[in-house]
């Protein structure tokens, strides 16, 4: 059995990021075929804002999720956990 290396708080935050990330995929695809739909754009922009806030919050607390972010020494992107080590069944 794997040791649970993420706190409940960290998992919930990551889950929320995944939720907004998915919602953005959906508005992205919708907007590709409905580029003038202002309601959809508003929805997309509100998800985008929330997503970026959550990402910044997560990365400030737990380290980079994106390799494009800056890092102190040593390179922090490779820190645990790897995606497959996260057990979302236990939150």
């Amino acid at each position: 059995m794997e040791v649970d290396i993420m706190s409940r708080e960290q998992k919930l935050l990551l889950l929320e990021i995944m939720e907004y990330s998915f919602a953005l995929v959906e508005t992205n695809l919708y907007l590709d075929t409905h580029p003038y739909d202002e309601r959809a754009l508003k929805l997309h922009n509100s998800y985008s804002q929330k997503y970026n806030e959550l990402l910044s919050l997560y990365e400030a607390k737990y380290g980079p999720l994106r390799y494009t972010q800056m890092s102190g020494c040593p390179w922090a992107y490779i820190n645990d956990p790897w995606p497959w080590e996260i057990d979302f069944n236990v939150i």
């Binding site: 998915f22 919602a23 998800y47």
Partner: protein, 61 residues
Amino acid sequence: MNYDYWDRNKGMQLARAYVPFQRLNEVFDPKEALMKGTLFPELYMPYKRRGEDLNGGRYYE
């Protein structure tokens, strides 16, 4: 093989597919959307489980 295909179907149309244009309606909140696999309630069409066959597999319809 298919030599007489066009002759047989002379005057008939091949199948045509169409997709109605989606219009934005209510949306699921992001949490529910991730769990259901779509943000749009009108596109949420889960397969219903019909039963289990003898080999342990599952049928969906």
